[in-house]
Subunit: 388 residues, 2 copies
């Protein structure tokens, strides 16, 4: 276990009906609000009306930025920043999933920065101040509701990049599982893949002596695996929805499950290059890439992959070599993603080898990626080729 | 899973050598410091000198309250409150284990309260403000380093009571596992029992649908069980000490492992009555009482106890009834506590039945205790009798 620091001041308000606390929670932060949301499903479900009524009860003035894209775009973020400056916004509220929350974070940081907000994503500048923000989560997936990270797409340049700061930790996040009952089926699928992928990036680590952290990771993986199919079978399954939502938050709340471990994040980096160009859902890209990353890297530490197979998938170790166990665990992952309805090949999205080189090049634009196995351009290209 | 709220702003700084960050971490909070510690072992180990040098480097004025008792006493807390008032203390630093931290918290609350600090422990008053505090933890056990709770003994009245407030969450806690290398052997034993007991109080719950929470609890229990004996065999075992320390913090950091679950805490309540009268180590009392509590209550939910037996102790379920499994898990707990050197009977401390009635009466002084099984006076008396 390495030395670490951990500080996560986000207040979590979890449970059915907790959206009705939005007004009370917001009141401490100001009355000039920017409300950020996506494609309008919150209007169809009545959530929008509830949010507006909560905010009018505290006498807030609400400006709106609707239409955040599934891979949120810099151009949209810039519209939000402009709204903040024009209207003297004091507090940003994100109502949606990871894309909406990430856009709100970028807006919160950009509003108080004189330069181009993209500077934070290229490393040209670091975030020194930000507007406070709160979230109402509508999808179990991102973890963004309890961390300080944001990922934004620069669509013209076909780049998708992350930035982060403790200043971007939401002041509060409302986690009401009942808001996820109505999400499209594939959002539940991709969100669950996303949660599992966040854990994979932390769990497959070369750091020694992290037994509690490994078990926390395995706990989330097992719980997601046993709850996805019930949630798909009955979208109103209260228990399954609550479990998935809490798993999503715990999987990526500032790395709490893997404190003192070196994380990898190469698969996310690779997926970002795919969705930067092809605009496919993040979770879909991860479902395609992760099992291929696993096959490509497992020999760095087959014991961890064998442990994954036995503890997470309950694969019987009797008579199996460590390599056989490891490969069985990887196959179980692939089979599970397929069984719940995620795509398994880039070809399922009509993606061929045309842009492999460019994606591989971009993935290592600043440096080689990953830590479990450090990946150079050729490695990334091979993982993408295996994913075709 | 019930609705819940979670907010834990304590900053954790974990790892060998992190005590050298004390000055830097303290500087933000003020220069008039009350330093609280115990029986002087920190002088023998050189920790005291390091702390003082850290605080002089930032130009702080340090007042000291030494001699905090293992079951910290109200009289000592009052001395600390007086020091705060006399010297205009701005920040309280606790260097020690749970007793020292709990005393520092009570001092931090009492210093800004005009009445008697004991009011917070009888429920006569609630904590509205408190001095900020930081901790340097020297024992893996309490969890107090990352929560807002404190337990104090009113020695004259033979009462031991708890109080709590988010205001008592340490601003920061330094968790340096190397500080635990030199603790007496029985502190490692009792500390580990304490950690496991904190998990038991949360894990044995009637709340339904909490699979992630249960697994988090089991993760800590398994990790403590596999690290105690290595730490006892080699007190300088870096890995074991780090794991025990992180388990202790995660086991009781505002209930994060059991969010949405109703906790029990009856065994702690019963133990408090024993140590309030007989001043035995908290962990020793828990090791005696918990297995007897388990036997007394397991029929409320034998499935949870059977799950405990198989998942935590790896007991083979083949051919066993649920009750047999449950009892095997309880026996494994008793055997483990005995194997690591904890006492198994009150008689080991010379405690007979003389005060059973009084302890049972005090345990339910305000109300029946527990939730897994609600315990009235006669129930408490019976658990104590089984523990003789």
């Amino acid at each position: 276990m390495n030395n670490f620091q951990f500080h996560n001041p986000t207040r979590i308000v979890f449970g059915e009906g907790t959206t009705s606390r939005l007004g009370e929670l917001t009141a401490a932060y100001g009355k000039s609000i920017l409300l950020v949301y996506g494609g309008g499903s919150i209007k169809a479900t009545g959530l929008y009306d509830l949010v507006i009524s909560q905010l009018s009860e505290i006498g807030a003035t609400v400006h709106e930025l609707a239409g955040i894209e599934p891979n949120p775009r810099l151009t949209t973020v810039n519209k939000g920043i402009e709204l903040c400056r024009t209207h003297g916004i004091e507090f940003v509220i994100a109502v949606g999933g990871g894309s909406v929350i990430d856009a709100a974070k970028a807006i919160a940081a950009g509003a108080l920065y004189e330069g181009d907000v993209w500077d934070f994503f290229t490393g040209k500048a670091t975030i020194k101040k930000a507007l406070p923000l709160g979230t109402v989560l509508t999808l179990a997936a991102t973890g963004s509701e309890m961390n300080g990270n944001t990922v934004i797409s620069h669509w013209d340049a076909k780049l998708k990049r992350g930035a982060g700061s403790p200043l971007l930790n939401p002041a509060f996040s409302i986690l009401d599982p009942s808001l996820t009952y109505t999400v499209p089926r594939n959002h539940t699928v991709y969100g669950s893949v996303d949660i599992m992928s966040h854990v994979f990036e932390q769990y497959f680590s070369l750091t020694e002596n992290t037994p509690l952290q490994e078990r926390f990771c395995e706990s989330i993986l097992q719980t997601v695996i046993e709850n996805v199919e019930p949630a798909l079978a009955d979208p109103n399954d209260k228990a399954a929805r609550a479990n998935l939502m809490w798993c999503g938050t715990m999987a990526l709340n500032g790395g709490q499950i893997s404190l003192g471990m070196v994380n990898d994040w190469a698969s996310h980096g690779i997926e970002h290059e795919v969705s930067a160009i092809y605009d496919i859902p993040h979770g879909a890209g991860l479902a395609i890439i992760f099992p291929n990353w696993m096959r490509y890297v497992y020999k760095e530490r087959p014991d961890r992959f064998a442990q994954y197979a036995t503890r997470v998938w309950g694969i019987d170790a009797t008579g199996k070599t460590e390599d056989e166990l490891a490969l069985a665990g990887i196959q179980a992952t692939r089979d599970f993603f397929t069984r719940i309805g995620a795509e398994s090949r880039l070809a399922d999205f009509g993606i061929g080898e045309e842009q492999l080189d460019r994606m591989a090049e971009e993935a290592v634009r600043y440096r080689a990626i990953g830590s479990f196995k450090v990946l150079e351009k050729n490695d990334v290209r091979e993982i993408l080729r295996l994913s075709l």
